[in-house]
């Protein structure tokens, strides 16, 4: 059984149908990439999974439980974290306060302190800037904070929305290295990226979205060599 199973999902913005019946699954331990152009429905899909949007029909099953209608705030404690597009760190709070909020659903203070240390170990720059107001961090640092904050909930699966967007090439490489690390440490990853080349390089499998539908899916290596993908997304 897949860890996360999305079936015949349809999502509307008012009258406009953004997701037109997509199905996909994520198995435990995998890195899955959802690729596609702007407006294909990638972000909408993630928002619907974590309850920021409501599905019109279809189902989302996480570890055997139907979470289609579960209020979003309850999904976090089930073991799912979401690093939103544009990072959305709490700009007026400090790095440390942001990380603490990431652990909002957890109770044990000693374990939370340990998790913060782990985040600092993984992201040295956040430790240096622990008391700095998050809004004053650079884009790359904010992305690290958003990822660290998501890790603070001890997720089994982490959903990442365009983590490399707007970052300098140096940071992009670093962010992808970190995603790899997160995956290797046992967390399942569902990744949305416009940078299809990088995404396919670290993914196990991928789904290609076009205007609300999945048009192609398969192993990442296989897709990387697919002629239509090369043309449309890899710029070759």
């Amino acid at each position: 059984m897949a860890m996360l199973e999305v079936k015949d999902l349809e999502v509307y913005y008012g009258m406009i149908q953004a997701i037109k019946g997509i199905s996909f699954e994520v198995n435990e331990g995998e890195v899955i990439a959802l690729i596609g152009a702007n407006g294909a429905g990638k972000t909408t899909t993630l928002h619907t999974i974590t309850g920021l949007l409501q599905a019109k029909s279809g189902s989302i099953v996480f570890e055997g439980k139907d979470i289609t209608k579960t209020p979003g705030y309850k999904i976090v404690s089930m073991g799912m974290a979401h690093v939103p597009e544009g990072r959305r760190v709490f700009a007026n709070l400090s790095v440390y306060e942001n990380l603490k909020l990431g652990a909002y659903t957890r109770k044990d203070k000693a374990e939370i302190a340990e998790s913060i240390e782990n985040v600092y170990k993984r992201f040295g720059r956040l430790k240096e800037r622990r008391d700095q107001i998050a809004g004053t961090l650079s884009g790359g640092e904010q992305q690290m904070l958003a990822m660290g904050r998501a890790l603070m909930s001890k997720p089994k699966i982490i959903l990442m929305d365009e983590p490399s967007m707007g970052l300098s090439p140096l940071y992009v490489n670093e962010i992808f290295d970190i995603i790899k690390e997160i995956s290797e440490s046992g967390t399942t990853v569902l990744l949305i990226e416009q940078n299809a080349k990088k995404a396919l390089a670290i993914a196990d499998r991928a789904y290609v979205l076009e205007t609300g539908k999945i048009v192609l899916s398969g192993d990442a290596d296989q897709l990387m060599n697919d002629e239509s993908i090369k043309k449309a997304y890899l710029g070759e």
Binding site: L52, F90, N92, L101, S153
Partner: protein
């Protein structure tokens, strides 16, 4: 010497009145910060608090502290109910004006309910403060018990609220929701619950403010809350709407300005001066004294 004494006395009265404004303004500013709405019914919750204490203490003879406690509980229930019934269904409405107009409607509803139940006659409110006035400097300076208690309560409220927001999990959740509801939800924060909690705290504070206000100015009518409510709103804007320390500073400054205006310029002009100050502040610094510029999201 006498002039210095009266100056000190005006200053203390100003700080005392300002503390009441600050306590009300905190409710305004917290609700604005988190729900991005102006709760114009907030002032009328003060009036309800006043009437509850009037009924329980002046009429039924309950001990004042117990009466205040009852008023805080009932006002909390009232505030949360208003939010749940009148505001929450409109939170997703396409126009933010809808909830603003609803708030004005709730304000009139509360005023008219009070009119229906208690009538239009002014009720004389018995002060809940039993402390005798303090006479200093050979009787040249008299500080009333109400003034002392109000300032003290103001300080306690401000300290407790600051600690609550900065040191507790619920307080941090409030800050998170006020910044970004979606991101807060992704942390596992119950956004609706947090907004309800904010209304609860604001309404409990309004009850406290109502009791303090009616103890210092002991006449109670269904419109008692309206003017202090508007002035506290001015104080909140003055200090920077959405900012908790801003509401405190704005409230106290406004109280001091009002009392000094009454004492040294003209008692008829005092309100005009208060609102004039608001206009000047908004012209010079549109975000208020401690207002932050809204951060652009990348």
């Amino acid at each position: 010497m006498v002039d210095v004494m009266s100056f000190v006395s005006y200053l203390l009265n100003g700080i005392s009145l300002g503390s009441v404004y600050a306590i009300i303004a905190l409710g305004y500013t917290m609700v604005y910060g988190i729900a991005k709405m102006l709760n114009f019914a907030h002032g009328d919750v003060i009036m309800v608090g006043g009437y509850i204490v009037f009924v329980f203490v002046s009429t039924l003879g309950l001990p004042p502290l117990l009466g205040i406690f009852v008023a805080m509980i009932l006002c909390t229930v009232l505030g949360v109910t208003i939010e749940r019934v009148a505001y929450r269904p409109l939170r997703m409405a396409s126009s933010p004006l809808a909830v603003l107009i609803t708030a004005i409607g709730v304000s009139y509803l509360l005023q008219n309910l009070a009119l229906l139940i208690f009538g239009a006659n002014t009720k004389s409110f018995t002060s809940v403060v039993a402390i005798p006035p303090l006479k200093l400097a050979d009787g040249q300076l008299t500080i009333s018990g109400e003034t002392m208690v109000t300032i003290l309560v103001g300080i306690i409220v401000m300290v407790c609220l600051t600690l609550f927001v900065n040191k507790t999990k619920a307080g941090q959740a409030m800050l998170a929701v006020s910044e970004d509801k979606g991101a807060a939800q992704l942390m596992g924060i119950n956004v609706n619950g947090t907004i309800a909690l904010t209304f609860a705290i604001g309404s409990a504070l309004a009850a406290v403010a109502g009791v303090l206000l009616c103890s210092a100015y002991p006449s109670l009518t269904p419109y008692t809350g309206a003017m202090p409510g508007i002035k506290a709103f001015v104080a909140a804007v003055f200090g920077g709407i959405g900012s908790i320390p801003g509401a405190m500073i704005g409230g106290i400054l406004l109280g001091v300005i009002e009392i000094f205006g009454k004492a040294y310029i003209s008692s008829q002009m005092a309100d005009a001066i208060v609102f004039g100050v608001l206009i000047v502040v908004l012209l010079v610094k549109p975000t208020g004294i401690l207002g932050r510029n809204i951060q652009e999201k990348v």
